[in-house]
């Protein structure tokens, strides 16, 4: 009977194979997720060498802890959690405090601790901008955000992860994910307006104001 190639085997079987001592199984796992991890880590450092080091570290740690991986959860979620922790460790070692300026008091004005006027401001990318330009601007703003907000934005907006998966990776509740995303988006808008005021369009009225008008 034809035996399926390693490349087509699911993650669980590859984990079993790796634990059984087959390096090819681990190589296939790494190959399967390396691109996504490179994509994730580049949001934290512009250095290609550092990106490679962090991704490599992530996989090495995953291998060293592979026996603790619980088959009930998705391998990628588990791997992602290791990646996020590796990034935080790396930033700490580099003296880049991952939680710097989490909440500056002057920004805590709204019910969820955000500036309501910023929240209601319309900021859209200029239609003439190329996708690469938008991406560069966004990246510049993201780099200014505290890690705790950057991570949740990367997961949701760029990795298109579901709330439940984000909650699993960060080991927080879905409510916390919602709240953190809300704050992160508000922070993103605020910083974007500070760095690029030219993108601020006319301020829209709140529904209350419109209905009263």
């Amino acid at each position: 009977m034809h035996k399926p190639s390693l490349e087509t085997q699911d993650d669980g079987l590859l984990v079993e194979g790796t634990l059984g001592g087959d390096p090819r199984c681990f190589e296939v796992l790494v190959g399967r997720y390396e691109r996504r991890l490179f994509g994730l880590v580049r949001h934290y450092t512009r250095s290609a060498v550092e990106v490679e080091d962090i991704v490599q570290d992530t996989f090495l740690k995953a291998y060293s802890r592979l026996e603790t991986f619980q088959r009930s959860s998705a391998f990628y979620t588990w791997l992602y959690r290791i990646a996020v922790n590796t990034i935080l460790d790396f930033m700490k070692r580099q003296g880049r405090n991952p939680v710097r300026a989490v909440e500056d008091p002057e920004a805590v004005t709204g019910p969820r601790g955000v500036d309501e006027t910023t929240e209601r401001k319309s900021i859209r990318p200029d239609a003439r901008l190329e996708q690469a330009e938008i991406s560069a601007i966004t990246r510049g703003v993201m780099e200014e955000l505290p890690e705790i907000f950057r991570t949740v934005l990367v997961m949701r907006e760029l990795e298109q992860m579901r709330y439940q998966d984000i909650a699993d990776v960060l080991q927080v509740s879905i409510g916390t994910v919602e709240s953190r995303l809300f704050r992160a988006r508000a922070r993103f808008k605020k910083r974007l307006l500070q760095l690029h005021p030219e993108f601020a369009a006319s301020q829209i009225n709140s529904p209350d104001k419109e209905s009263k008008a």
């Binding site: 390096p23 681990f26 190589e27 790494v30 691109r35 490179f38 580049r42 490679e52 991704v55 490599q56 570290d57 992530t58 996989f59 090495l60 740690k61 995953a62 291998y63 060293s64 802890r65 603790t68 619980q70 588990w78 959690r81 290791i82 922790n85 460790d89 790396f90 405090n97 991952p98 939680v99 710097r100 989490v102 909440e103 969820r112 319309s122 900021i123 859209r124 990318p125 996708q131 938008i134 991406s135 966004t138 705790i148 934005l153 949701r156 907006e157 760029l158 709330y163 927080v172 409510g175 919602e178 709240s179 995303l181 829209i204 009225n205 709140s206 529904p207 209350d208 419109e210 209905s211």
Partner: protein, 168 residues
């Protein structure tokens, strides 16, 4: 509230981010959609929320070095565990599992023993303690303050999030 809607604007506005993220239950999503058909003000807010998402576009393609997977697999099987100490999944030792309870108890025991030891040491060596002026704290003061500040900010955020969840 719009004329035919069974839901208040305030409720819809609170749901806008999760609605745009397609993370509300189908029944709730249907109710929100019906409200939006009748309520141009809330519809405008949803459009703004969608506009915000336009900033998040995929970046340039990532270049993975050739042979990266084979290289990492070789290093892993050679016993390399990476540079940083492993600080990843803790779920396997959650307190509700037998192993987790034993570990939690052991930790508590060690903490109590350590506390006692520190107390005894302080009592025995109280008279030999240096004066404040003798301490060379300046060297790492900035770093220590920075860490404390970061920790405080992190705790503040967590407390705030817990408060929001509680009020929800």
């Amino acid at each position: 509230m719009s004329p035919r809607s069974s839901i208040e604007c305030d409720v819809v506005l609170a749901l806008v981010p999760t609605f745009v993220d397609d993370e509300v239950a189908e029944s709730v999503g249907g109710t929100v959609r019906r409200h939006l058909m009748d309520c141009p003000a809330c519809r405008a807010v949803v459009q703004e929320e969608q506009t915000m998402r336009q900033w998040f576009v995929p970046g340039p393609e990532v270049d993975v070095p050739a042979g990266f997977a084979a290289h990492v697999a070789r290093r892993a099987f050679a016993g390399d565990v990476g540079q940083a100490p492993v600080s990843a999944p803790q779920r396997e030792l959650a307190p509700d599992r037998p192993g987790g309870r034993v570990l939690a108890f052991s930790r508590a025991l060690v903490a109590v023993a350590a506390g006692g030891l520190v107390a005894v040491t302080l009592i025995l060596s109280g008279s030999d303690r240096p004066a404040v002026g003798d301490l060379d704290a300046g060297k790492n003061l900035e770093e220590a303050l920075s860490e404390l500040e970061a920790e405080n900010l992190s705790l503040e955020l967590e407390a705030s999030e817990r408060g929001e969840e509680g009020s929800r």
